[in-house]
């Protein structure tokens, strides 16, 4: 790998560690493998009752993402997760990543989508605008 590419990776990783744990390397590889598909329709009456509670999370570093999603289940249920789990059995939407075993704890794409969705929702963006932003950032 050329020196400049190695240096760039080191720089980006060092920037990222200013505010978070180091970026994982699979992000770029995952993006090329992820299936693409439409965003789901939010299910009527969906709520956050199945989102993994804070007491069962493996670490506080994911608390922010889970709390963000917990506040807007009806929005998150209308968003497709770009990490590849969207086609897994039992997964309906990005909300599914935060339910059950809470696989979003281990996936920075799930976390990033949840946090971005919450930020844009709080800024008054519509579901379609949020979907478009997520497709740009993670698609």
């Amino acid at each position: 790998m050329p020196l400049s590419s190695l240096a760039r990776r080191s720089f980006v990783l060092s920037l990222a560690t200013l505010g978070m744990a180091a970026l994982p390397s699979p992000l770029r590889a995952l993006r090329s493998l992820r299936p693409r598909g439409p965003h789901p329709t939010p299910r009527p009456g969906i709520d956050a009752s199945r989102v993994l509670p804070a007491s069962e999370l493996l670490g506080v570093h994911v608390l922010l993402a889970f709390n963000a999603v917990r506040g807007i289940p009806q929005v998150v249920d209308g968003i497709r997760c770009h990490c590849g789990c969207a086609d897994a059995e039992g997964f309906y939407s990005l909300l599914s990543c935060y339910e059950g075993h809470g696989m979003a704890q281990y996936c920075e794409i799930c976390q990033g989508e949840g946090l971005l969705a919450r930020r844009l929702h709080d800024a008054g963006k519509s579901l379609d605008e949020i979907r478009a932003a997520i497709d740009v950032r993670f698609g």
Binding site: A7, R8, A16, L23
Partner: protein
């Protein structure tokens, strides 16, 4: 005794059944370019001292698969062009119509053919003439990707002293050009402020995080401040260039901003061929007032803001 020998023989044969030596061993080469994957699966015949491979071992007039045994296949994950000819995403068997002069390359949708089943001309095939070159001798038929660019790759067939280079171009996922009207909205000089990491949470006993070191009252000079980082963003022709001072690292190439939306941009390095490397781990989210940018936030894929750019001059 004979039964024992037969038993030993069957055990030995079972062990080697998966490890047969073939005259033309299988091979698989793959190259990704800007998200498009190009894959060739083939068997690799050897020259084995045979001369005049083309025209003799592989007679003129034959529809030959550049490989052996099962037909060589070419798969592309997205639409591409090969020597300027459109090839839709999919998998194809690869054939060459042998001739003393130029060869005709044929891509056929049937990927189950054996090397003796060269398909006739039929609908759905991609057919075009290819250029042959004379190159140093290569014993074993080889498909390779000797050259890779951000916009495509060279796919090379090479056996004995004959080579066929193919120019494969992919559909770009990123666009280098930025509408000048949009570029002028974000032009300016920005001072960058890196956002410090958040304070760690309290420990399990609920105790507050210990305070940092006490302020130095010895009268010693304060530690030197790091140099201020600035982004100078200017539209240069079709490109939205950005000069970062000081550079983030030694050897950092020319940088541009690549548009993702009218408010979101990403840093990218460019070279003589165009886009070299897009830093998609970070996104610059611009804020606007009266149609002009006032600053931006630098966010990671985890949507955490790690830096802020404030406009200090146009």
């Amino acid at each position: 005794m004979r039964a024992v020998r037969l038993g030993l023989l069957s055990v030995a044969l079972a062990g080697v059944a998966d490890a047969q030596i073939r005259a033309s061993e299988r091979a698989h080469v793959m190259q990704t370019v800007d998200g498009t994957t190009i894959t060739v699966d083939y068997s690799r015949p050897r020259a084995r001292g045979r001369d005049s491979l083309f025209g003799k071992q592989v007679p003129f007039g034959e529809v030959w698969t550049p490989g052996a045994n099962r037909a060589t296949t070419l798969a592309v994950s997205r639409d591409v062009t090969v020597d300027g000819h459109p090839v839709k995403a999919g998998k194809y068997s690869v054939w060459i119509v042998m001739a003393p002069g130029d060869w005709e390359l044929v891509l056929d949708a049937d990927t189950t053919l054996f090397h003796t089943q060269g398909p006739r001309a039929r609908d759905g095939q991609v057919r075009f003439m290819v250029h042959k070159e004379t190159r140093p001798f290569v014993e074993t038929l080889t498909w390779s990707f000797p050259e890779v660019r951000s916009t495509g790759t060279q796919l090379l067939l090479h056996w004995a002293t004959t080579a066929v280079p193919l120019d494969v171009r992919v559909q770009p996922t990123q666009v280098l050009a930025v509408d000048p009207a949009l570029g002028r909205r974000v032009e300016g000089r920005y001072e960058i402020q890196f956002v410090p990491p958040p304070a760690p949470p309290p420990d399990s006993a609920g105790a507050a995080t210990p305070p940092g070191p006490p302020a130095d009252s010895s009268g010693a000079a304060p530690p030197p401040q790091p140099p201020v980082t600035t982004f100078e963003i200017r539209q240069r022709g079709e490109r939205l260039g950005v000069v970062i001072t000081p550079p983030f690292f030694e050897g950092m190439g020319d940088m541009v901003l690549v548009r993702r939306t009218d408010e979101w941009f990403q840093l990218a390095e460019v070279d003589a061929d165009g886009l070299k490397d897009v830093w998609d781990e970070l996104t610059l989210e611009f804020a606007f007032k009266d149609g002009k940018a006032t600053g931006f936030e630098v966010r990671t894929k985890k949507d955490e803001m790690i830096a802020r750019g404030t406009l200090t001059g146009r």
